[in-house]
């Protein structure tokens, strides 16, 4: 027998008796979220090729939907300008707005706020970005801790307000996906059809819907907040359905995050002429 000197009170960032690769999960979260943040921020600044009208398509990137204003830039084709005008709620952007302020800046705060205050993401990024803790049973880098009990993270409690906005976005994106199934024919009429882009847009709506309507706040609002669910059978059934989505909230969160990024990429590639959308009919 030999005596070691390690004490239970030993602390210091990363100290643990765990033998597994505990750093992999926070590292993957860090890389995944960072990649998405960098890509979406860059796309917002880039601000072009977010509406694909090539070959009669009408695919709008979810990063830019709804288009509140659009910049009437020189060099826009007549087709694209017409399509942008049809999508834009308030027409062209006022002239004093710098060109780098793309339509994305007006709307991205909503889904970003929804994800930032999401209960799943909070737990994930507190680990991956703040090391608070970096993983279970692993020592932290800081001694002081305020959690969500005090300023500033007490503001995480506004999550349900972001949910309300995010829920509206699902219907807007659903409308976009529906619009994406109406293609401009050679005679100028719109004809119902289905392209790869339509499937991509609908996939985005389904995944974002699964994520949004599986939200913990929604689960509470729909029925979790009442103790006698048997007296509210409709809410009870809704609570059950939301609970099913909620049980896989992490999966929905990641799948929808990846897919919304891919949807934007697909639209960008089609709009820039790099990819040609395949039409089934």
């Amino acid at each position: 027998m030999a005596n070691g000197q390690a004490s239970l009170s030993d602390t210091g960032f990363g100290k643990t008796m765990r033998r597994d690769a505990w750093w992999v999960q926070p590292l993957l979260t860090f890389l995944g979220l960072s990649a998405f943040i960098v890509y979406s921020t860059w796309r917002a600044f880039y601000g072009q090729h977010f509406l694909a009208v090539e070959g009669g398509t009408n695919y709008l990137s979810p990063f830019f939907s709804p288009i509140v204003y659009f910049h009437d830039l020189p060099g826009l084709s007549a087709d694209l300008k017409g399509a942008l005008a049809a999508h834009a709620w308030l027409g062209t952007m006022p002239g004093w707005v710098p060109h780098w302020v793309s339509p994305a800046f007006l709307i991205l705060w909503a889904p970003a706020g929804f994800r930032f205050t999401c209960y799943y993401y909070r737990g994930a990024y507190y680990k991956a970005f703040w090391a608070d803790p970096i993983n279970c049973s692993v020592s932290e880098p800081r001694d002081n801790y305020r959690g969500e009990q005090k300023f500033p993270l007490i503001f995480q409690n506004i999550h349900r307000y972001f949910f309300y906005v995010a829920a509206v976005f699902i219907f807007i994106l659903g409308y976009d996906a529906w619009q994406g199934m109406w293609f401009v024919a050679e005679d100028g009429d719109r004809k119902f059809g289905l392209g790869i882009g339509s499937l991509v847009l609908w996939g985005n709506v389904i995944l974002l819907g699964g994520y949004t309507f599986g939200c913990h706040s929604f689960r509470h609002l729909i029925g979790g907040g009442i103790n006698k669910l048997s007296k509210a059978p409709v809410r009870s059934k809704c609570y059950e359905c939301v609970g099913c989505l909620n049980a896989k909230h992490m999966i929905w969160a990641w799948c929808s995050l990846v897919w919304v990024g891919f949807t934007d990429l697909y639209v960008w590639m089609c709009a820039s002429g790099t990819w040609t959308d395949f039409r089934f009919f």
Binding site: M1, A2, N3, G4, Q5, A6, S7, L8, T11, T16, M17, R18, R19, D20, Y119, Y120, R122, G123, Y126, K127, D132, P133, C136, S137, S139, E140, D143, N144, Y145, G147, E148, Q149, K150, L153, I154, N157, I158, H159, R160, Y161, H216, S217, R219, H220, L221, G224, G225, I226, N227, K228, L229, S230, S236, N246, A247, H249
Partner: protein, 259 residues
């Protein structure tokens, strides 16, 4: 049969360190069996608390290879599978509680915390014989929380207690589960949301789900107990529009009665 090396923490409230042991491990053994074997073979004074050896009394909580676990439910073959070749299996007492001796910790502070939570306050009996009527659907949710065996592994793994020692400001996951069981009970009329926000410090929980991951009874602590309680706190303290909506629809009083 194979010889396995162990590194077991030994000491008391004044301090201690890891001590090396070696013992034979046979098929079907759990960590607690190994500890008992080491007691019998080479350390008669090695202290460990245990009782049922069936994962129901919650006595043998310790940290095996750094993970808070019940020693009686952790099979040695699983432990060896996660232990790097040539490295010893480490066993130490729960870090979030004061050590009494070796693997035994003083968890009595938990029972003091429990006393601070407002007790069950049922509505008036439904029948003249002093009994109540409930619907199974309404108690399903609460029954999950009643599975708790009070092993306090969730308290141990919670970084608010383990790393920051905020025992006076935060009641911890076990007692949030306890509060949820009371708060969501269809007969209960007490309102604990203000205490949860202030005295019980629910805001300290930052939802890392470590408590859920270690629960031997597989209670979905974070998603089914803590987050719903956080949402009830939001209802009462952070959602002026919701409050206004309930006031306009006349459901505010009902909601208060409900809680």
């Amino acid at each position: 049969m194979a010889k396995v090396d162990f590194k077991i923490w030994r000491g008391d409230a004044k301090g201690g360190g890891y001590q090396d042991f070696s013992t034979d491990v046979t098929e079907g053994m759990v960590v607690l069996d190994s500890v008992h074997q080491i007691q019998a073979e080479s350390a008669n004074d090695l202290a460990c608390r245990w009782n049922c050896k069936a994962g129901k009394c919650g006595s043998c909580s310790a940290e095996v290879n750094g993970h808070p676990r019940l020693m009686c439910m952790m099979r040695m073959d699983e432990v060896l599978a996660e232990t790097p070749k040539g490295a010893p299996v480490t066993i130490q007492p729960m870090k979030a509680f004061p050590v009494v001796k070796d693997l035994v910790t003083d968890v009595s502070s938990n029972f003091e915390i429990k006393k601070k939570i407002k007790p069950f306050k049922p509505r008036k009996p439904d029948a003249e014989d002093g009994t109540w009527r409930m619907v199974q659907e309404d108690v399903d949710r609460v029954q999950e929380f009643r599975k708790c065996i009070e092993c306090f592994l969730c308290q141990d793994v919670c970084h608010v207690l383990r790393e920051h020692s905020l025992h006076d400001e935060f009641i911890g996951p076990r007692f949030l589960v306890y509060a949820a069981a009371l708060e969501m009970h269809p007969l209960d009329t007490e309102d604990r949301t203000t205490e949860l926000k202030n005295a019980h410090g629910i805001g300290y929980c930052n939802i890392t789900k470590c408590c859920t991951n270690v629960c031997p009874e597989h209670i979905t602590i974070t998603d089914n107990a803590i987050i719903p309680l956080k949402e009830r706190v939001v209802d009462k303290h952070y959602d002026p529009l919701g409050k206004l909506w309930r006031w306009i629809h006349g459901t505010e009083k009902e909601a208060n009665d409900q809680q």
